[in-house]
Amino acid sequence: MTGTNGTDDFVVFDQVQKSYDGETLVVKNLNLSIAKGEFLTMLGPSGSGKTTCLMMLAGFETSTHGEIRLGGKPINNIPPHKRGIGMVFQNYALFPHMTVAENLAFPLQVRKMSKAVTREKVAKALDMVQMGEFGDRRPSQLSGGQQQRVALARALVFEPELVLMDEPLGALDKQLREHMQYEIKHLHERLGVTVVYVTHDQSEALTMSDRIAVFDDGVIQQLAAPSVLYEKPENAFVASFIGENNKLRANVDTVSDGVAHVTIDSGDKVQALAVNCGQNGNTMLSIRPERVLLSADAPNRLEGKVLELIYLGDHIRCRMAVAGHDEFIVKVPNSSDHAALNVGETCSVGWLTEDCRALDAA
């Protein structure tokens, strides 16, 4: 993988480390390859090192150790303005003293393009984000969503092969954010540029990405496609960070054929898919709320007591006490034949063995 100039590793982080104070590592030994044309999202809580990685790629931070390669060439010593990477910032970073058109013309002017070419490219880029009529406005005269579009157009107008986005939708309201997610996704599909996107919003990551790198504590916890990440989390952090998740502490008795036989803290014995629980010792069982079965003939049956019911239209959210754990959530789809539940009742709770994953006991 390393050193070659194939399409599979357009951007390569090779054993990259970063420390600000010489005492703690913000990024610990990062190895990551991004293919050309890929939409890769760095997802993680704040302080997990994802933005630092992006800034190292953009050239605003230098790595303490390791090499970053772009198109096969090491870029550690190339200043940001020579990297040719487009970037969209959290607060758009539009230049307030220039009009929208002047903002877009800026990267073309510093590349000494002729006026005619500049005008043509600016118009094309503005049309691309449906902002063709706003060229003469100042950024302050635009709404947040419009500013976002202009920032996007500015990062794309000089046709970079790689575009970095640092939580670009963070300042927008929910509805606009969802709309812009689709717009960015479609733009990416149409232009075929490589996008590295940083966010702490998991639904944003799931919506847009080809692959997601989940960051925590300076380490990539899992790098996979959205569906894999959600359905097959490899450790407890990813399971709880992506989507909702019921956690049960348990002890591994035996593991055979990839199935772990475990004893829950309450004493009940159940089975789960062995992912990274070891041969014996503590484990964390992870079950998605929508995969919990509420029928008397389900496998891995436990006793559950209904504590709270929340009606959410398409489904009913049910909080239960299961095996001494009273934050056990079950999503009951609002279908015509869904189980009738009442607060205070007890019922059977179970799951298919492959839906319950035995993870590390973090």
Binding site: I85, F95, L164
Partner: protein, 430 residues
Amino acid sequence: MADVTLQTGTAHNSTASGALLAADGTPLKKKLRQALAVSRRRAFLLVAPLLLFILASFAIPILLLLVQGVKDDTFSSIMPETTVVLSEWDANSEPTEDMAAALVADLISARAIDRSLPTKVGTRVNREVSGAISLFKKTTRKAAKMEAPFLAELHKTDKKWKDINYWRAMKIASKTITPAYYAAAVDKKYLADGSFTDQPEDRQIYVSLFLKTILVSGGVMLACILLGFPVAYLLAHLPSRKANLLMIFVLLPFWTSLLVRTTAWIAMLQSAGVLNDLFVWVGITSDDQRFSMIYNMTGTIIAMTHILLPFMILPIYSVMKAIPPSHVRAAKSLGATNWTAFWRVYFPATIPGIGAGGLLVFILAIGYYITPALVGGQDGQLISNFIAYHMQKSLNWSLAAALGGILLVLVLILYWLYDKIVGIDNMKLG
């Protein structure tokens, strides 16, 4: 009661024309005014002490002084009869017996009230033509014994009375509201017939002094921008611990006395001072050709720049602090070199701070007094030093007021220009 009904009536009328009514039928605008009145009154009471203080100690004295620039009743109050007679005189024909009689009568009655009064009149007339003080002293002494015809007696007392210019000078001085001082402040002379002429060449000092003051202020402002901008940049971009330390150095001049700072410059710059010693030691100059850097314009500019520098640094710093670092990063990511990113993105964003600092320094510099007075020597004096001279030494308060008035107008013009070019809304002081 009648009033109330009438009001409700109009309110209803205005509903027809579209005005909104509150729930109880009063017009909404009136209701809003009533609702806001209490808070407005409270706000006014809070600022009232300061307002009174400013009025009493600042606004009213300034107004009185400005009035003094065009009003001078020294002559007309002491010499009432002469004033009346002079006002009828055309300033070209020979002085008449009536004028002489009134003059003598006024001088006698003034002397009777207070012996110094005729001298005051003489001083006032002396501003228009020299030699008037001694003439008035002499005439007053002999006035009591004079008999008609008074004109001949005056001619006998002193030949100067035959000179029509002394009578003209009295006519000018007799006017209570007079443009004479403002004319003098711009090197013009107000004549008895109401016209203006240039002052003699050797007495034309104020226009060139105003120009010099503006030039020096502009120079100090430019020097402050050049020196202050990098310091402000450093302050805004250093880690906060170092920036705080640096900020203390910037503010240190504020905490030391102006006199100490200015005299420190004397110790630094005088011909036997630190800098000259250093130059001689290094070999830049020889011992008998030391630079004269103080008691001249150089000294004034150096010391004023140092003293006014914080007023430039602080506004620029506060503006720089508010510029998001992502703007420069964005420029670089778009392909701009460090210089282009600075010049086309960062620098334009600092202009409101430079404008505010520039205006502040310029306005402070244009009226600066102590520093030029201490280190300016002969040619380092500015307009404020002459205002002080007329206030304290020559006691020509009216001329001082006129000079001050022109200075005020200059500052207001600058402010207006700044508003036109940069816009006052863009000014950020902190």
